[in-house]
Amino acid sequence: MTAVGDNDRGLEKYLRMQRIRQFENKAEAIHAQGEIPGALHTYAGMEASGVGACMALRDDDYMVGNHRSHGHPIAKGAMLRPLMAELLGKTTGICKGKGGSMHLSDFSMGSLGETSIVGSGGPVAVGAALGAQMQGLDRVALCFFGDGASSEGAIHEALNLAAVWQLPAIFVCENNRFGMSTPTSAGVAGENVADRAHGYGIPGVMVDGQDVDAVEIAVREAVDRARSGKGPTLIETKTYRYGDHAVNMGRELTPRGPDHEDWLARDPIVLHRLRLLEQGVPPAALDVIEAQVAEEVDDALSFARESAYPAFEEAFDHVFVDRLPIPEDVLAHA
C-alpha cells in the first residue's frame, strides 16, 4: 500500500471528495425542483470523514453506512450513474429504485447497506466481520454511524460483540455535532463517543474529521490491527454537516452554535486542496479533476434522466428470491 502523502493517493482523495460535493450539489438543486422524491440528507462538510476512512480500506473490504448515504459509497469508489439514477427512482438505480436517497449502497464496492434506521448498521458490520473471519479472508468491515446513533442499543451491542469476538471491525462515529436538531451534548453522555471504547477494552481514537489524511491514518491503523487479528477499534471523526438534517425542508431544524463559521472555514476539500498545492501539486491538476467530476455528474444525471422507471411488477421482486405473486386487483389499477 502506498503512503498517505503519496501524490496519486492525494489526488484520488481529492477526486472522491469532489465527487461527493458536486454530486450532492446537483442532487440538492434538482431535489428543490421536485425531480428527486423523498428526503435528501446531504454529506457536505463531512467528505474528509468518509473519504479518509474508505481510502484506508481495500476494495474487497466491507462497509456499512447510514441514512446520510451519498458520501459513503462514493468514498468507497462507487460510480455515479447508478447512484444518481437511484435518486430519481429509476430501474437503473443502484437499488433498482427501491432504496432512494437514504440507501445508496453499492454492493459491488463492498458496501453492505446504508441503513436509515439509526444505529442498525452496527450489527450488520459485526456480522460481515464475523463472516470474513470465519471464511479465513483477511477482510475488514467498517461501520459508519453518527453521534446520535451512538445512543442506540444496537451500537453498544455491536461494539461489545466485536470486542468479545475480537473481530476485524472498525467503528467510525461521524460526530457532526448534531442528531437532527439535537446537539451531541444533549444526546450523548460523556465527553467523546470515542471514550466509550475503554469500557470494551478496545482502542478509542479521536481524529480531526476535516483532515482527510488524518482520518486515513487513524483508520489505517485500525484496519491494520483488525486485519492482523487484534480486534476492533472505535474512531470518532470530529466533523460538521453544512446542510440542515435534510435539505429543502422549508425551515431549518439545526440550531447553529457560535462555532458555525469556524467549521465552514475549515472546509475539508479546501483544506485538502491547500495541502496538495503545498505538496507541489500543480493547481491545474486539481482543476482538471474538478472539471472531470462536473462532467461525471452531468453524465450521471443524463443517464438517470434517460433511464426508465421500474415496471410495476418489480415492486414484487426481492421480497424473496422468487418474485411474489401479484394480486390481480392491484395489478389491474397499477
Binding site: 427501491k98 432504496g99 440507501h103 442528531g179
Partner: protein, 330 residues
C-alpha cells in the same frame, strides 16, 4: 368548533391535556423543534422539563416513559415514525404491555406512545411501516388509529386520560385534512367506540385509519352507480367495536375491509375473521380485504403508490360483490 387539521388536532389535544393535568409531559426525539407541527408553542408554554428531547434510544426512552408512568406521571411519547417502534419493541411488549398483569395489578401504566404511519411518500421500506396489526396481537396495549381531525383530538385526549397504555397511530395521509373539532376541553371520544362515517345499505366498508377517507370517496362514486355503501370507522383497533361492525354487516350482508397495512395478519384480516365468525348468517358474499400486498414499499413513487388501497380497487370490489350477491331475502 373550529376547522382544524389532523396535525393541529394532535397539537390541541396534547396542549389541553397538559394544561389540565400537570402529570402529563412529553418526550421524544427532536420534539422541541416541532418537526411535524404537533408541538407548536409547547416549549415556551411548558418548559424544558415537560417537553423533553431525548437521545436516539427508542427502547430506552419508551421504557423510561413506562417507568415514569408507574411512579405516577402520565407521559406522552412522540416516537415520530412508526418504524422506530421496532427498536423499542421489547419495552413495549415485555414491560409496558405486561407489567400491570405480571405484577397482579400493582402497577398502572398510563402512557401514550404516538407515532405516524409515514407511507406513500417515497420514504422506502424502512420508513413506511404500518405496524399496528403486530401490536394488536399483543394484549395489554390499547390502540387508536383515527382518520380525521375530530376523532384524532377526541381519541388522543381519551388516550391521555386512560389509565392503560395506548398506542396512537397517526396516518400521515390525513395530516393536512381538516374537520370541525369541538373546543371543549372535555371533548373526548371513548376508546373502543367506532363510528359510522356514512350510512348505506348494500355493502359495509370498514376502513382503517386513512383508508376511511378512501372508502368515503369510493362510496361517493358508487352512490352515483346506485350502490349504497356504509362506511364504518372503528377508530380504535383495541378495543375494537365488534358490535358496530357486526350490526352494520348484519344490515348490508356484505363487507369490504380496507387497510393500509400488509395483508397477512392485518387489521383487515382480523375484522374479516370476526365477521365470518359472528355475522356469518347475514353474509351474502365473500368478505373482501383491500390492503397493501405483502411486498415492501419501494422508494420509486411510480411503483409505490399503486400498492396502497385505492378508490378504484374499492369500487371494483364493490361492483363485484353486488353482482355476486344473492338477492336480498326480504
Amino acid at each position: 368548533m373550529a376547522r382544524i387539521t389532523y396535525l393541529e388536532a394532535i397539537q390541541q389535544a396534547q396542549m389541553e391535556e397538559m394544561i389540565l393535568d400537570s402529570r402529563v409531559f412529553m418526550m421524544g426525539e427532536d420534539i422541541r423543534c416541532n418537526v411535524f407541527g404537533t408541538t407548536t408553542g409547547f416549549l415556551e408554554k411548558f418548559g424544558e422539563a415537560r417537553i423533553r428531547d431525548t437521545p436516539i434510544s427508542e427502547n430506552g426512552f419508551i421504557g423510561a416513559a413506562g417507568g415514569a408512568a408507574i411512579v405516577g406521571m402520565r407521559p406522552i411519547v412522540d416516537a415520530t415514525i412508526s418504524s422506530f417502534l421496532f427498536p423499542a419493541m421489547d419495552q413495549i411488549c415485555s414491560i409496558i404491555a405486561k407489567s400491570s398483569y405480571i405484577y397482579g395489578g400493582q402497577a398502572r401504566l398510563p402512557l401514550v406512545i404516538r407515532s405516524c404511519l409515514f407511507y406513500g411518500n417515497s420514504n422506502a421500506a424502512q420508513h413506511s411501516d404500518r405496524p399496528y396489526p403486530m401490536f394488536m396481537n399483543m394484549p395489554g396495549l390499547k390502540i387508536i388509529a383515527p382518520s380525521n381531525a375530530r376523532d384524532m383530538k377526541g381519541l388522543l385526549k381519551a388516550a391521555v386520560r386512560s389509565d392503560d397504555p395506548v398506542l396512537s397511530f397517526e396516518d400521515s395521509t390525513c395530516w393536512t385534512n381538516k374537520s370541525e373539532v369541538p373546543d371543549d376541553m372535555d371533548f373526548v371520544i371513548p376508546l373502543g367506540k367506532g363510528d359510522v362515517k356514512r350510512e348505506g345499505t348494500d355493502i359495509t366498508v370498514i376502513g382503517i385509519a386513512g383508508a376511511v377517507n378512501i372508502a368515503l370517496k369510493a362510496a361517493e362514486q358508487l352512490a352515483r352507480e346506485g350502490i349504497s355503501i356504509e362506511v364504518v370507522d372503528p377508530r380504535s383497533l383495541v378495543p375494537l367495536d365488534h358490535e358496530l361492525i357486526l350490526r352494520s354487516v348484519r344490515k348490508t350482508g356484505r363487507a369490504i375491509c380496507v387497510d393500509p397495512a400488509h395483508k397477512t395478519c392485518s387489521a383487515a384480516s382480523e375484522i374479516a375473521a370476526t365477521i365470518a365468525e359472528y355475522a356469518f348468517e347475514a353474509l351474502r358474499a365473500p368478505v373482501v380485504r383491500i390492503t397493501t400486498p405483502d411486498t415492501h414499499l419501494p422508494f420509486s413513487p411510480h411503483i409505490e403508490k399503486p400498492l396502497y388501497p385505492s378508490v378504484a380497487r374499492i369500487v371494483d370490489a364493490a361492483r363485484r360483490l353486488v353482482g355476486a350477491g344473492t338477492p336480498v331475502p326480504a
